[in-house]
Amino acid sequence: MATVGRALLILALVVALYGIAVSLYGAVRRRDEWIASGRRSVYAIAALVTGAFAILEFAFLRSDFTFATVASHSSTTTPTFYKAAAAWSSQEGSLLLWLWLLSLWSSLILFITRRGLRIVAPWATAVLLGFAAFFAGLLVFKETPFALLAVAPAEGAGLNPLLRHPSMMIHPPMLYSGYTLFTIPFAFAVGALITRQVRAADWIRATRRFALAAWLFLGIGILLGARWSYSELGWGGYWAWDPVENASLLPWLTGTALVHSIMIQEKRGMLKIWNVSLVLATGTLAILGTFLVRSGILDSIHAFGASTLGVPFVILIGLMIGGSIALVVWRREALRSDNRLDSLLSREAIFLLNNLVLVAMAFVVFWGTFWPLIAEALTGTRRALGPPWFDKYTVPLAIMLVLLSGIGPVIAWRKATAANARRNFLLPAVAALGLGAVLSAFGAASRPAALAMFVCGAFVVVSVGQEFWRGVGVRRAMTGEGPLRALRSLVARNRRRYGGYLVHVGMALLFVGVAASTAFNDARDVSLTPGQAMRVGDYDFTYARATSRVSTSGSGELEKISFGAVVDVRRDGEKIVTLRPERSYFPSRDVEGLGAVGRFFEGEATSEIGLKAGIRRDLWAAMTPDIRKLMPTIEEGDRVFAAAAGKLPPELEGQALGAALSGIVDRYIQSKPAATFRVISSPLVTWIWLGAIVVFLGGLIALWPGTDAAPRRVTARYAARVAEDLGRA
């Protein structure tokens, strides 16, 4: 099957190169049959890569260790659930996933636009096929997923234990869907610039939904990554300003700016240079994000693949940046605005300000992320910038962003008068400031940035609530519908507007959660022995007793050793919850120089946290056992097994090893071991995840096709027709 898989990828590369040539020929010569052939090349690549991906997945699911990538990233003991995800934990599998998603999304947009966009679409097809050729080329020449081993090992190395988390099944496909979807507006923007169709509304309408879907998928991917970090990495946070996290945030920030500013171009024909620059920058940042994850160029807790892909990626990114700048400069005349800003007190002006804040945030994140490379180039020393540096700039920008997301919904397009603004801002402003006063009285003023975020968040929730309330009131007055029916028809008539408002509420909840959990958390790192307690905030954490166990896989093979703790949490003497944090040790697959027992403590280790999540507060605990007392026993075990090597049948040796490890875990408990605990009491963390769900729902509503999506035929006299058409919608 590996031969077939490799052949499918080679064919995909050839078809991509063919498709580029015929699309460009068809575009230049205006030959529809060549254009159609280029478009069909994309469909063919989607089918070929689907076949290749299926072969790789099949190899993972049946643990076919003749595939080098399966042997190095999976094992027979890996649960089936994670075997499927192990494909994209490898460099090759992840690149194949990228190409597969790209081919599917490209096929979808080209199928949708197959009867239109005759001038722009062939150029966009060539650009999309260019991306496909790049990734197919990497998979054929640099990182093939179908490399075979001369001798298949009896067992594979297994999936990195850190990746054995449910969100890792969905996190990479979501991120990559976001990245690949952002290449679609990029490709159509390049086509529009080359063909001078930048004033056209049609290509924007066709790709707008893809930009929104990209934004949504990338956002979900980022949040799943944050959740994984919170519950798996054992440091207690969800965002570390790590280069790989930042790499995904960059296109999301510029994409957020884009989904707002594109509305101004649609409505007013303004900001064309800005919009096209955002589209091109976002597409380029999506490729940059892929590069940072897969290259290992920057030190990261998430960099699971260090490789030699740097040069091809740098060439591609250089081409994208250089080409984008050249195209925008070339077409600057055609990109002039049709209209001017009527007033600084208008929704357009707020959108523009929101765009500036988002781009400023993107610049800060970009600078902080790449500073180690810049510093190394300038001084010869690599220096990273930590969270305090990022917080210094992003916190005020985030507060401003949340405030603007509350102002936007209650201000009119074109021009708002002071009287109207007063009427619309009064209730949200009074409610927000009132909440601020109450929170200040309870001590929140000690953290001014957090307090400002709470006030702005409240402003958003009330202003959006007011919009829904008034909108429902208008619908009821017009139609006599009941409140729920009126709400449903209000949203159905303008899904983009009200879906977007819901996204604003979700983001406000999320940011309030971030502000509260960052500013008001209590965290301690303490070493305890069983029976000892520590106080964190208002809570007493008591290390009641140690736990330990040896886990075996379904096939009976020794999988990991876990040392844990039972921690009782009390408040004012009343028991709140029992937490059970644990540290698990997976055996090293590198058997050279390691003892039979010792190798269980030389491989990967993961933290299983103890967590009580609540709407008001999370109680979080992780532990690292002190296993120094066990070392003499482990070394003794290594010596015994080394002496017995080859003298025992394999099954007896396995049983003996199991008995030895069981003895170690029993001895651990009997020794009343010390352990180092990291304990955190953090308010409103759950609001982050709830906010993300609200954002997701709002995004889905905005994405859902509306009643005005299908073009209507026009039949009556013009002025009457406008009224008639509007009345029908």
Binding site: T3, R40, R115, R205, A412, R470, V474
Partner: protein
Amino acid sequence: MDVVALLVIVAVLAAVVAIVATPLRGANRERVRGEAADEIAELEARKEAKYREIRDAEMDLRTGKLSEEDHRVLDRQLRAEAVVILKALDDAGAELP
């Protein structure tokens, strides 16, 4: 390389050639609209955007974001712009074969 793999590869190759070459053989040619149809699609997009703007302005009036006077001026301007687009739509429609 085993025979089955070879046969699969040859079959896939034949299918791919059939997929991408069909339009070039003129068989089963896909209906592609002319440039006038592209213009109509473009104008339809502009019309929908203009209609959305008119509806938004009306909603802004009803929810108190625009005064009656501001809305009257804005609505008149937007409807005039919509009429221009509709005229262009009819002209482009007349050019269609």
